[in-house]
Symmetry: C2
Subunit: 253 residues, 2 copies
């Protein structure tokens, strides 16, 4: 059955969607059956994977709001070889609608548990907040992967995020663990990035992946083509880095 | 009385906080009285301005949840010359608590209207979402400034944002206008950024500022010192660009 990884960071623009998609494809290259769940109303993940979001008539929203809904027919295959349970803007309403539901934090867990037998890995892309959608992902997951830019403003939220994880572990998901903190968009030429990375490794020993994802314009271009970096430019450093990350994450199964 | 500008984009990491702070300081250099309101529970703006967020006992949260609260004592002066109504993590609870309040979209407008007589400009930094906090900012504002990275994933959300603005104009704030779309973190060496910028100007004629904010590591360093780019490195291209933007925004008063 699947290992479920929530890709989380309330700080915006740190590479959550890019990591979910490229790590997912890299795991598929290792021969695994992969499902990506888009839990962000922006639907960046769904669009990056080439799914025509504007034409969708159903999405993860239906699976969340009606427990009788079978999630399987909502899942799309993609040219990159991973399956995607897509999002649409309807999902933005879910935050408010979930507020008054009983066991509102555990709605996604029921959906994910129905899908675990069919996959080796399930990755969940979260929105830039610690609201109900992200809490649902943390309650449904076995582990958390935290993408992080090596920039001052991005590091500020880390302590808050780790405190939230401890709360979720205590009340909703006792076995939730941290897979690791993944440095993203790393520009090794700047002192700022190198200083922040060194500080991260010092402050969070053993929790920062050895793999570092470098900054590259090719990564920005690939989602416009509906492709992962592995398909867009397979020999690129970043493609290799995501393969290396996939090998580490896969060992955690 | 003040011109109120909401700095909005649900896409994360596009430069909302950086623009609110640096534009605010640039407007202050033009001799204006400036208030910045931090409406993001991450409190990036408050931290960037050097406010000790962890020690705060009161913030914009108190002003939102209790209309009897006088917002003035909650405002901090800063070394950069602008006033800040700071945020703390308590603000994260506001999204849920506002849901069941009457006229929940207009709570911030009451706070802002009390402060308008004391300032020439009020800028509001929004979180990366289109939830109740952002809707409150749109209802309280005279105009919207939209920071945008010239990257594929960042441009996807623009249509949705403009559709949301139209809804807010129809139901909550008839006079709300768009000050403009501000290209941020622009790396002129890449074809990708230049193509996206050209596309933006073609698709949104007259709505994209002439000023473009370039990518620079100095901008990433400055908040770590609690300084704006104008104080951190006043001759830098980005400092001049924010002064140019301030002159344009100030003409709109
Ligand atoms: N290694 C990289 N090098 C260069 N650009 C990158 C890299 N990884 C991601 N990006 C770009 O940075 C931007 C932010 O990445 P992404 O959208 O994946 O972040 P996010 O955390 O999912 O954002 P949000 O908080 O809005 O959901 C995107 O334009 C993406 O293409
Ligand atoms: N012109 C620039 N050049 C280089 N880096 C920049 C520039 N403007 C902003 N940044 C950096 O990019 C990151 C994102 O900027 P910022 O936090 O202001 O975006 P935001 O839209 O407010 O993010 P969020 O969605 O999390 O609120 C920060 O680390 C910031 O220091
Ligand atoms: Mg994302
Ligand atoms: Mg911000």
């Amino acid at each position: 059955a699947a290992l479920v990884t929530a890709v989380v960071n309330q700080k915006g623009g740190v590479g959550k969607t890019t990591t979910t998609f490229n790590l997912g494809v890299a795991l598929q290259r290792l021969g695994r059956r992969i499902l990506l769940i888009d839990l962000d109303p922006q639907a960046s993940l769904s669009a990056s994977a080439g799914i025509p979001v504007a034409q969708l008539t159903a999405s993860v929203y239906q699976a969340l709001l009606d427990e009788a809904t079978d999630p399987l027919p909502l899942i799309h295959g993609t040219t990159s070889g991973v399956d995607v349970l897509p999002a649409t803007i309807d999902l933005a309403a879910a935050e408010v609608e979930l507020v008054n539901m009983t066991l509102r934090e555990l709605v996604l867990r029921d959906v994910v548990d129905k899908l675990r037998p069919r996959y080796d890995h399930i990755l969940i892309d979260c929105p830039p907040s610690l609201g109900l959608l992200t809490v649902n992902a943390l309650a449904a997951a076995d582990q958390v992967l935290i993408p992080l830019q090596c920039e001052y403003l991005a590091t500020r939220g880390l302590t808050l995020l780790l405190r939230t994880l401890t709360k979720v572990q205590g009340r909703l998901n006792r076995n939730l663990r941290i897979a690791g903190i993944l440095p993203t968009m790393f520009d090794g030429r700047t002192t700022h990035a190198n200083e922040i990375l060194a500080e991260l490794r010092a402050n969070f020993p053993g929790q920062v992946f050895d793999v570092v994802i470098k900054e590259s314009v090719r990564v920005k271009e690939s989602p416009a083509a509906g492709l992962s970096i592995l398909d867009y430019d397979g020999n690129h450093d970043v493609a290799r880095a995501y393969i290396q990350l996939a090998t580490e994450v896969d060992h955690g199964r």
